[in-house]
Symmetry: C2
Amino acid sequence: MALIVQKFGGSSVANAERVMHVAETITDTYKAGNDVVVVVSAQGDTTDDLIDKANEINPKASKREMDMLLTAGEQISIALLAMAIEKIGCPVISLLGWQAGFETNNAYGAARIKTVRTERLRAELDKRKIVIVAGFQGLNAAQDMTTLGRGGSDTSAVALAAALHADLCQIYTDVTGVYTADPRKIKNATKLTDITYDEMLELATLGAQVLNNRSVEMAKKYNVEVEVLSSMVKEPGTIVREVAKMEKMLIRGVTKDTDVARISVVGMKDVPGNAFKLFSSLAAKGINIDVILQSVGRDGTKDISFTCAKGNAEQVCALLENLFSNEGATVACDTSIAKVSIVGAGMQSHAGTASKMFGALYEAGINISMISTSEITVSVLIPKEYADKAVAAVHQAFFG
Amino acid sequence: MALIVQKFGGSSVANAERVMHVAETITDTYKAGNDVVVVVSAQGDTTDDLIDKANEINPKASKREMDMLLTAGEQISIALLAMAIEKIGCPVISLLGWQAGFETNNAYGAARIKTVRTERLRAELDKRKIVIVAGFQGLNAAQDMTTLGRGGSDTSAVALAAALHADLCQIYTDVTGVYTADPRKIKNATKLTDITYDEMLELATLGAQVLNNRSVEMAKKYNVEVEVLSSMVKEPGTIVREVAKMEKMLIRGVTKDTDVARISVVGMKDVPGNAFKLFSSLAAKGINIDVILQSVGRDGTKDISFTCAKGNAEQVCALLENLFSNEGATVACDTSIAKVSIVGAGMQSHAGTASKMFGALYEAGINISMISTSEITVSVLIPKEYADKAVAAVHQAFFG
């Protein structure tokens, strides 16, 4: 018998039929002799509908009242899911975030979990009840409802698994696991049996959109074994854990990210402190930047290029023009690019991984405009129109 | 400066426009220098929609999960109303039932309020905040959400007013107050300035559907002054309190109730205990009965007639046939009747009130089939088709 935490997203419980389907998945796990704690998000469009209602009344509503409003969404879904499990005939109880012991800080809309007090959870599990917990929510020290922000329900599930020392945290999604590339695009993309936390973090950052980064970071911190699997297809998913088993595999996957803009500041004075000035001004505005390249320009000037999310490009350009136009530098923005990356802890100990990637791109006739590497990733910027072709070529080189 | 509790029902906050209107009513009271605590129900059809969702999944869902589901409705409306008040620019905070200190017993779906702990409420009022409280809900000793059942939000408002020793509890409704008769039917029906708790209780019982009886009973118990007024029309409503001011008025109003069936058991053996047998068997099933008439029948038998709600008539007849058919009695049911009543504490000290009512009915050519009186009411059963005519004739006799 194991203690298993299962998490289901909003689309998995969007209507009565799907709620019943999820209830069957849960009770199957329970009937196999396991203790089961379930984290569930608000149904389908509930959260968006509530946000629309709020905007109609007051688009500048306080975050405190917004959290009061939005936490009602998960309250509805936990009750409905519990009712579905009652119908199947298994003992069950639904708990709000605060009833399940989620204590957070005061950051309404993006609260951090401080602790999960498990007394109530333990008491319900001791009665052999399936416990359904409202994801995405907690209670702050003032005894007010808070929400955890983006990816909150994944984080709730991992936090619960950590607090309860669960044997496994299953994140049910609309994909059957983590693949070596997007299986909708690359025919011979294969599902990974397992992957390390660090690899998963890089894949999430690089646009693989399977697991929220925050939840993977928490899983890594508390060493929670996470399985990503499908809520519709019954088959084993991908296990995320500290040490992956398949040591022989150099890389775990190939990803692309097209939500990227390249900003270039050309002709800055080559004096100390300009890079600091540039990036600290962006950090002050909370803008994340990625691949950075600095090169020596003409006539004692230097050029700095970096990437950021497309949505931030306009703001970044305006900011940098203010900062550097008086010293004769020009700011350029290119949104016609894509970032293609390979991820794998295995490459740490294997020379030639990067060159194998570059070779594949060269053979496909794709020009690389920037390169960035970390211990477990190699990323290249290429023209956006070649992104899918690049992923296919690189995937073929490593997995073909 | 006064402390005022205001209660708004679901139709008052059904959409964004109405929420803004209610917010203005609240902030007007606040800006006049009062402390304001507001109780609000779920928006419009929210509760019915949630019940539909539950029925689709499991029509036999536990009451515990049903309460978990339904309490989300008020959570949404308090947040939206608080946002509307934020927009107007007044300090405000929304509180769930448990945050506002509502502690109840364990009777999910029909919980009784045990106490209201006012520490948080007082703290927020001390900050000069308008406090918006979710009606209809509380928390039981197991720390689970409960609902108060029918008329729950009225009861929440009166309980808050009692706990906070508020100066006034305003119940906003779709009528402008309590009238001497239904103003949609009787042209010269006049609004009462005030009315006693007992009179209000009789009027509610008799079908005037203005205030829930449970809230009036609580108001009487804790001597809370209640004002019934319109959420749409700005004018003083009707004050419900211990001693009404208009002593000269014999009666307060004329009401009719057409949701009534007359059950007759004819030809029972005239032996002791038959009445007890009859009514205790109904009480055991939780069936409320009203006007009772016992008369001597033919050949040493006796007849008993009484009224009950139409919805219970079939069950009652089946029960009584089981009980009495073996002793030759027959059970008859008449649903073509109506009950017309006059209510007024003044009639206690005035002879002739009943006869004045009977005279008015006689002159209108309406036959009375049963009569029942209490200290402050006189009720008659008449053919249903004459109900409106009877109310008009009696109203004319007393208020014309």
